[in-house]
């Protein structure tokens, strides 16, 4: 029994005995602390369409005043979301740091490890009423648009499903998104290795650069509806136009559009006495911006053919014409082939021989239009279509 305390003492002594190996904390001796990363943003727009040749609507100062320029403008500011994923690349985002910059360069201290950084350009709405809606999540950020007026039409027709037909109803139209750009460099590694940085003795900091190319996630289509032989048959237009079968949103991280078709409303304007292929005509023109077709990859080269999974979706161009007797009719023209062959924007041309149009028999102003002017008229209607 006298040995028991000794044995217990030996046990306790061995409890505290050294467990090997001796461990060190990495990074203790490294002099670089929080290096600076300088990001340079480069906005890339690769459009091969020569709008001045293909588009004979002749955009003028009035159009410019109404709808702004027809090209891509340089952004004036950027939103930045910085995600630190620790020592693991491709790790889930657990936190985000959000800030805005006004230049294409910015410098910021970075911790050692991996970063994902999402950039997107600020929206520059001409009238200050932004319709683009940014939905922020930790893993992805998506963009959609607000709704505008409605339209009486077969749901399946609006969705662009070629084979389906059902009873007409009133569905909502989406606003066309403002132009913006995004880039998402991933797994940026901030190492402890001094050789990875340039030393700036003036600031006494180690810095590295990343160059990021931002690409547009909204594409521009220029619409021209050529009215041939319009000897007063078409008196004018009311400005209503829409395009069906377009993606209702896009992912800023990937640039991939969603698979929820929507119909996008835009305005058009009529110009008389123009030439189309050297023939006199009237031309209705308009600019239409969109996230693109459903399930579509972002632009990697100009004029790329659509290669998404929703070739079954039709794209109908809807527009109102006012006849000489004041009757209004909404026309729809299938422009699917034109959009799918220019999936990242271009010129869409529709030619109408007015001699073949049938004037409405009971001309009551606007009664023939499928467009519903106010939100209240369709607020009970579902916006998203299950296909």
């Amino acid at each position: 029994m006298k040995r028991i305390p000794f044995i217990l003492w030996a046990f306790l002594l061995s409890l505290s005995a050294c467990i090997r190996p001796e461990l060190h904390i990495p990074g203790q001796d490294i002099v670089v602390e929080e290096p600076i990363l300088e990001a340079e943003l480069d906005v890339v727009v690769d459009m091969e369409t020569d709008w001045s040749v293909d588009w004979q609507y002749d955009w003028d100062a009035t159009d410019d005043a109404i709808w702004g320029g027809i090209g891509y403008d340089e952004p004036k500011g950027y939103q930045v979301r910085r995600y630190f994923t620790g020592k693991e690349p491709d790790a889930p985002h657990t936190d985000v740091e959000a800030f805005a910059i006004t230049e294409t360069k910015f410098s910021r201290h970075f911790e050692f490890g991996y970063y994902d950084i999402l950039f997107w350009s600020d929206i520059d709405s001409p009238d200050g009423t932004q319709v683009l809606v940014i939905n922020e999540g930790l893993e992805t950020v998506t963009a959609t648009t607000t709704g505008t007026r409605g339209m009486v039409r077969s749901f399946s027709k609006m969705a662009g499903v070629r084979s389906a037909e059902d009873e007409p109803g009133v569905i909502g139209l989406k606003n066309q998104p403002e132009i913006f750009y995004a880039a998402y460099p991933e797994n940026i590694y901030i190492s402890h290795n001094l050789e990875d940085y340039d030393y700036d003795p003036a600031r006494d900091v180690y810095s590295a650069k990343i160059e990021t190319q931002m690409r547009p996630l909204v594409y521009i289509y220029l619409i021209q509806i050529v009215l041939q032989n319009n000897d007063g048959i078409i008196k004018g237009i009311n400005g209503n136009a829409a395009m069906s079968g377009m993606a209702s949103g896009t992912c800023l991280n990937t640039g991939h559009t969603n698979d929820e078709p929507s119909t996008v409303y835009f305005n058009i304007r009529l110009k008389h006495n123009r030439l189309f292929n050297d023939e006199p005509c009237d031309i209705i023109g308009g600019k239409f911006t969109t996230f693109g077709l459903c399930d579509m990859e972002p632009q990697t080269r100009a004029g790329s053919q659509y290669n998404g999974s929703r070739e079954d979706l039709n794209n109908y161009l809807f527009f109102d014409l006012i006849f000489s007797n004041d009757g209004v009719t909404t026309f729809s023209v299938d422009v699917t082939d034109q959009l799918q062959s220019q999936s990242h924007g271009g010129v869409v041309t529709v030619v109408i021989d007015c001699d073949k149009l049938q004037t409405p028999e009971t001309p009551v102003t606007n009664a023939g239009s499928l467009f519903v002017p106010s939100v209240e008229d369709y607020e009970e209607v579902y916006w998203e279509l299950e296909l």
Partner: protein
């Protein structure tokens, strides 16, 4: 010893007590052969020292024990480590009475453990843990007096541990400087030890144990 015996019996012997005394044993010294001759996957043969003391009251069903396992292996040329310090307390109830302490039993245990384990350059762990649960087993007497016994046991319970993974070589600079480092890539000033945790529910121990009872004494029938 003579002073201890009355206290442990709970009553003093008196001259009027005429019952024939029997011999009992106070403590059984045990060792778990599974711990003594452990073979660890990815490490190999890792013998250790397991020593347990089980207090054996002179009557009743219950015993209490304290045990300790000490294993200390490091093969630094192979980047392998296997070091265990495990302290275990156990209360057992034997189904057979009259202080026989053999046959089936059920028990409850609590344990604390320290460990340092490494299998190669990139897989090492050092930490501490604690747990508890139930144990069950069977005890056979190997001699006529029942001093030498063999038992088998299995424990089921929980183990919670906080630990640090470690690696060979500096993981940040990726240099082989002959040192071992915490597997940590953050800022050195933000480092906190035992920042990882581990929770286990299931089998926690297995035993094939040899015991021998020591310190004879007389007990009343």
């Amino acid at each position: 010893m003579s002073l201890l015996i009355p206290i442990l019996n709970g009553a003093a012997q008196t001259p009027g007590n005429v019952a024939q005394p029997q011999e009992g044993r106070v403590v059984a010294v045990k060792t778990n052969l599974v711990h003594d001759f452990a073979v660890v996957p990815q490490f190999g043969f890792a013998p250790g020292i397991n020593l347990q003391l089980e207090y054996l009251p002179l009557k009743g069903h219950y015993t209490g024990s304290v045990g300790f396992t000490f294993t200390q292996h490091s093969r630094e040329q192979e980047f392998k480590f296997f070091q265990i310090r495990d302290l275990q307390l156990e209360l057992r109830r034997y189904f057979k009475g009259n202080a026989a302490y053999k046959g089936p039993y059920l028990g409850a245990y609590a344990e604390g453990v320290m460990y340092g384990i490494g299998f190669d350059k990139t897989r090492g762990w050092v930490g501490e843990g604690a747990g508890g649960g139930l144990s069950a087993g069977w005890v056979w007497a190997l001699d006529k007096k029942g001093h030498l016994k063999l038992e088998v046991s299995l424990s089921l319970g929980v183990l919670y541990s906080r630990y640090d993974p470690f690696v060979y070589g500096n993981p940040i600079t990726e240099t082989d400087d002959g040192l071992y480092y915490y597997d940590y890539m953050g800022k050195a000033q933000d480092f906190q030890r035992r920042n990882h945790q581990f929770f286990w529910f299931g089998p926690t121990n297995a035993g094939i144990q040899i015991s021998y009872a020591l310190f004879g004494r007389k007990k009343r029938p």
